[in-house]
Amino acid sequence: MPELEVGGVSLHYQRLGRPEGETVVMLHGMLVDNLSSLYLTLAPVLVGDMDVVLYDQRGHGRSARPATGYGVEQSVADLEALLAGLGISGPVHLLGNSYGALVAIETALARPGLVASLTLIEAHFAVDGWGDHVAHDLELAGFGLSESDVQDWLGDFGGRKLNRLARKVEALIKETSMIEDLRVARALPPAALRGLDLPTLALYGEHSDAIDRARDLEALLPRCELDLFADCAHSVLFEATRTVRGVVADWYRRLARGETIVPATHRVEVGEAEGEGAMHQEHVDFYKAELERRMGAAMGRTALRIEARPGAGRPS
């Protein structure tokens, strides 16, 4: 398995396609994701023309899971060190999904000469309060995995794959500094985005919970094409894989031809078997609300126990 030691952490990568072509680096999402999602969806349609680099970010997939270093700045540093290790000096095209898109944006801002273009799928980037929001969601996921009925269900019906995934997620949440590292993420000032003058393709599901970020990118980036996918939500890459493949392959062909990118927003119709994101989002919202209720109740019980303890509440 190809791996590279980056700052003492072993990262698994895959390099495919045409070594002589322009390089595109693919960045996967957080927690439940790894390079396989982009390997199976978008890498196949770009390997014919491009040098495609995919890697598992620390703690994910087949890369090592160190106890620390899960903040945004470290993610950018890992990417930069990986490219240096592979002898790629850039500029490279960055393509990211969800948290991977955030890493792509932050890398373009931190290392201006390194990035040729951005393809941002469901980019969640750090606005005010993002750190707290994502830390809370991770805590919620950790709490949910510890619930006895969830454990029972996983044991009875989860099967090998889901159980392995659940164990990995639990380890990331409970055995690393990920929550605390992300809680302190600095918000990205709007002026920084205004100065990000790179050809950018932003893809979002029209029912995405990150749709406000889509509107931010549309308003702030000087050269951003925004594609809103009909009937899709945050998992647009998996809900409408075929359509996303077509849009992304076309985007890189246009860049290769030297086409000038001007701001534009399109609504993209998806195939008959694609979409249903609104329904998925409803399910996610439903389970999240249930977990919020349970975690709230559990925290209430803990607070009551602390208050009931003799001597509690008095300054020591």
């Binding site: 398995m1 895959q14 495919l16 396609g17 790894n34 390079l35 396989s36 999602s37 390997y39 199976l40 969806t41 890498a43 196949p44 349609v45 390997v47 014919g48 598992d56 997939g61 087949r62 099967g159 090998r160 794959k161 392995r164 995934l165 998996f238 894989t241 075929r242 493949r245």
Partner: protein
């Protein structure tokens, strides 16, 4: 890329056996209890994780060399079709590439 070790006379059954051996190695201990044949679904029967599928593809690419282009083939399949792949279908793809490469 390692030197291709198989020739054009490799049968589908032999490829199935090679895939099964790689799956056992990729999945490790849990995999050795599995009975893998051409009809085994990678997702349902083998319960292979996506990231393990990448490892399997890497091994098959190294075994059969440039005569097969697994990654480009995946681009012709929908995600559902990739998830539903059987060991036999994977073997038939490899067999077709090897025959084509041999000019048969």
């Amino acid at each position: 890329m390692s030197a291709p070790s198989d020739n054009a006379t490799t049968s589908v059954a032999e490829i199935v056996a090679t895939i099964a051996r790689h799956i056992h190695e990729v999945i490790g201990e849990e995999g050795f209890a599995l009975d893998i044949d051409a009809g085994s679904s990678l997702s349902e029967d083998v319960e292979i994780e996506s990231i393990e599928f990448v490892a399997l593809a890497e091994r098959l690419q190294a075994t059969y060399g440039e005569r097969i282009d697994l990654i480009a083939w995946l681009g012709e399949l929908d995600l559902d079709e990739i998830i539903d792949l059987t060991v036999g279908e994977l073997a038939e793809f490899i067999d077709a590439c090897l025959r084509e490469g041999a000019g048969a």
